[in-house]
């Protein structure tokens, strides 16, 4: 067994000190007490609900779902093995990586939750604020610390935000959930502009590094792209600025209509100018008080945890030749690393036919072995529900690819039409109107032919089983929204969305398609693109150039639209 041969490597990532460990330990005990009070009947389900949600515990259609935080998507091999163990011991031997870069288990028993939390605490993990109306898990760029494009590694700031927002006394009973992302490159892999609040690390004209802060993005039934709150916040002011935004939100958001309580609604009601004015007032007061100022030493101290590993020098920077399958995989799933001789490798959890984002215990353990052998003990979870080995030697790529083939995770489809995001949908979720997973599976099978996928090029399909948009359909080049019409599932097409630096909200094409028609409709839309595209145009570019009309005409041809 590979398992016994491979020694777990501690990667350069944040490590708990005694304070973090005590905090998480006490939080586990606190939640264990809340579970006991629920089981004894002291707490009603109505009272227990926000408490359990704040700890990532949902009641779904069939069972409890437990969502485990993977801060900014970074996992060590030791943590990955623990997740595999939990899946095997307490669930049905698999877990699901989510669009918030978390991992969730769908078949958890309430009585087991305190035990699971203690096991997680052993590997410096928790479920704090992975749900509920509070600040959620902070996400970031999956290529952080590995790409040469970034101004600096965004994860230290993400970790500082994680700590500041953990059980923040003022902001644990917000009007709605609040999602924060941090990026450090022009190319946006973290969907920054779709967040309640986002920080982009930037350099100003004087060459100083600081933070651009955006707020008011969000999906759901009223999708909005974020507004810029400040083009440049000084490093030491960032927590004061973020707290100012949250404070205005907590004070001024509506509380009378759950569908109008996200910060996007507040900002688009009062206008971004007025929002900036209110934030500025709070910010100036917080800055004057000084207690939230972030000393340079603290930023440096946290950044030291994420120091770049010692990359070997003198490695060949040439891509090895290992056959056409390997070459295809390299084309889509391997990206440029900042160190010569190294690469970033994406493991798509999207083999056509599989449930997007799912991995079994055995697969998780095998990936943990790959992490130790080839990627300095580290993996990243992406918001597109894939995994990334951030630091691999190019010379090791053929061995990695061969192992992934054994695991059935070697699909060369990162960013292609079969690399589909899908929410759990009606198979698990009690909010859903329609199933998402089978639609994703069938579409991936339909477009399985690799030559065709590569011919189509970058095309992001995102599927949500209801208007809450957990499958990011608004941001899909092709989005699919499941709706329920008199007990029958229908699927609307949404075209032209983007979650990247060119963020845009997709446009609904028209009435929905039946479960058995949606595949043909997507196919006809893709055919229009192939016929209309000019050299180098992605699907999104063609759509933006020619508009909806031709796509719509083709999609409804022969379909009994409902």
């Amino acid at each position: 067994m590979l398992n016994t041969l491979v020694k777990a490597i501690a990667p350069n990532m944040y490590r708990y000190d005694e304070f973090d460990a005590q905090f998480v330990g006490e939080r586990v005990n606190q939640f264990a007490g809340q579970v006991a009070r629920r089981l004894s009947g002291e707490l009603t389900e109505d009272q227990f609900k926000p408490l359990r949600l704040m700890n990532g515990l949902y009641l779904q259609l069939h069972a409890y779902m437990l969502r485990i935080a993977v801060p900014y998507g970074t996992l060590s091999s030791r943590q990955m093995r623990k997740l595999a163990h939990i899946a095997r011991t307490y669930d049905k031997n698999f877990g699901h990586f989510t669009t918030r870069t978390n991992l969730q288990f769908n078949w958890i028993k309430l009585v087991d939750v305190p035990k699971i939390l203690r096991e997680l605490a052993d590997v410096e993990m928790h479920c704090i604020q992975t749900s509920g109306n509070c600040v959620r898990n902070v996400t970031s760029d999956q290529f952080a610390g590995a790409t040469g494009e970034e101004i600096e590694d965004p994860r230290p700031l993400a970790e500082i935000i994680r700590q500041w927002s953990s059980l923040h006394p003022e902001f644990v009973f917000l009007a709605r959930k609040f999602k924060i992302a941090v990026g450090a490159t022009e190319t946006d892999r973290a969907a920054l502009q779709w967040h309640d609040m986002a920080v982009q690390i930037v350099r100003n004209q004087q060459g100083r590094v600081g933070y651009k802060v955006m707020a008011g993005g969000g999906m759901g039934r009223t999708p909005y792209i974020a507004h810029v709150m400040s083009e440049f916040v000084q490093r030491e002011d960032i927590l004061a600025y973020l707290e100012a935004v949250l404070r205005v939100y907590n004070q001024d958001s509506r509380r009378d209509n759950i569908h109008k309580q996200r910060i996007k609604i507040l900002i688009n009601t009062i206008g971004p100018e007025e929002m900036r004015r209110r934030v500025q007032r709070e910010f100036e007061e917080l800055k004057r008080m000084g207690t939230l100022q972030l000393p340079r030493e603290e930023l440096d101290r946290i950044a030291a945890y994420f120091a770049a590993p010692k990359f070997e020098t003198g490695l060949s920077d040439a891509m090895p030749d290992a056959g056409p399958d390997f070459a295809n995989w390299v084309k889509t799933n391997v990206h440029q690393h900042k160190a010569p001789g190294y690469a970033i490798a994406t493991i798509t959890l999207k083999t056509p036919g599989q449930v997007p984002g799912d991995a079994t215990s055995e697969q998780m353990e095998a990936i943990a072995d790959l992490m130790d052998r080839f990627s300095l003990g580290e993996v990243r979870v992406t918001h597109e529900q894939n995994l990334v080995l951030p630091h691999v030697k190019k010379q090791d790529l053929p061995a990695i690819h061969a192992k992934l083939k054994e695991l059935d995770f070697a699909s060369p489809n990162a960013g292609l039409i079969t690399d589909i995001i899908a929410c759990p949908g009606l198979d698990y979720c009690d909010l859903a109107n329609a199933r998402s997973i089978p639609i994703a599976q069938k579409l991936a099978k339909r477009f399985e032919d690799l030559d065709r996928q590569h011919r189509i090029g970058e095309l992001k399909i995102k599927i949500s089983g209801c208007i809450n948009a957990c499958g990011h359909h608004h941001a899909g080049h092709i989005g699919i929204l499941g709706v329920d019409k008199k007990g029958v599932e229908f699927y609307q097409l949404v075209l032209g969305g983007s979650g990247a630096e060119d963020a845009s909200v997709g446009t609904i094409m028209g009435p929905g398609f039946g479960e058995h028609e949606i595949g043909d409709a997507v196919e006809r839309v893709v055919d229009v693109y192939l016929a209309e595209r000019t050299d180098g145009e992605r699907f999104l570019d063609t759509y933006r150039r020619i508009g909806m009309e031709k796509f719509k005409a083709a999609a409804y041809q022969g379909a009994a639209a409902a």
Binding site: F19, Q163, W164, P169, F171, E285, T291
Partner: protein, 164 residues
């Protein structure tokens, strides 16, 4: 029945709540913001303490310069999910410099008492089954904190720095 916990002990509640249309009794009273605005002159002329009870949609800044005439501001939780009062308490203690009693009233949970304590509440109107032992337990479940708040508690960052 409810009882009062103040500054870490059971306390006698000396304030009488007064309905908007009821005559003002002798002694300390708690009135709504609307009643205060209507009878401001008469209330401020009294030599007995005056408290105001704010609904969760009422920003304490509405009290203006009068804020320091109040002995007590009661902040209402209409539902425990409505967390606006966490910001109102903090605003009272910092921007408005209010040093009187800030009392939590309405529908809040044991599990929120520690957060209330951190942002500046110092009095709690609790149901009968809520004991002082529970109150103290609520405050001690999590020893250290990551962020500064009104309580002035040292943050984990400061504790770390002190270890060096």
């Amino acid at each position: 029945m409810t009882k009062l916990i103040k500054s870490g002990a059971y306390a006698q509640d000396n304030f009488s709540p007064v309905a908007d249309d009821a005559p003002l009794p002798e002694g300390a009273v708690i009135v709504s913001l609307a009643r205060f605005q209507k009878d401001r002159a008469a209330l401020l002329a009294r030599n007995t303490p005056v408290g105001v009870r704010l609904q969760s949609s009422e920003n304490p800044e509405l009290l203006g310069a009068d804020v320091n005439h109040f002995a007590l501001v009661a902040l209402e939780f209409p539902k425990f999910r409505d967390g606006r009062a966490f910001s109102w308490a903090r605003l009272l203690r910092t921007r408005l410099g209010f040093t009187g009693e800030i009392r939590a009233v309405g529908d809040f949970l044991y599990d929120q008492v520690n957060y209330q304590h951190r942002v500046g509440f110092d009095a709690w109107e609790v149901p009968d089954h809520f004991t002082l032992e529970m109150f103290n337990r609520a405050l001690s479940e999590i020893t250290n904190v990551y962020q500064p708040s009104t309580d002035g508690k040292k943050t984990i960052r400061e504790l770390r720095a002190a270890l060096k």
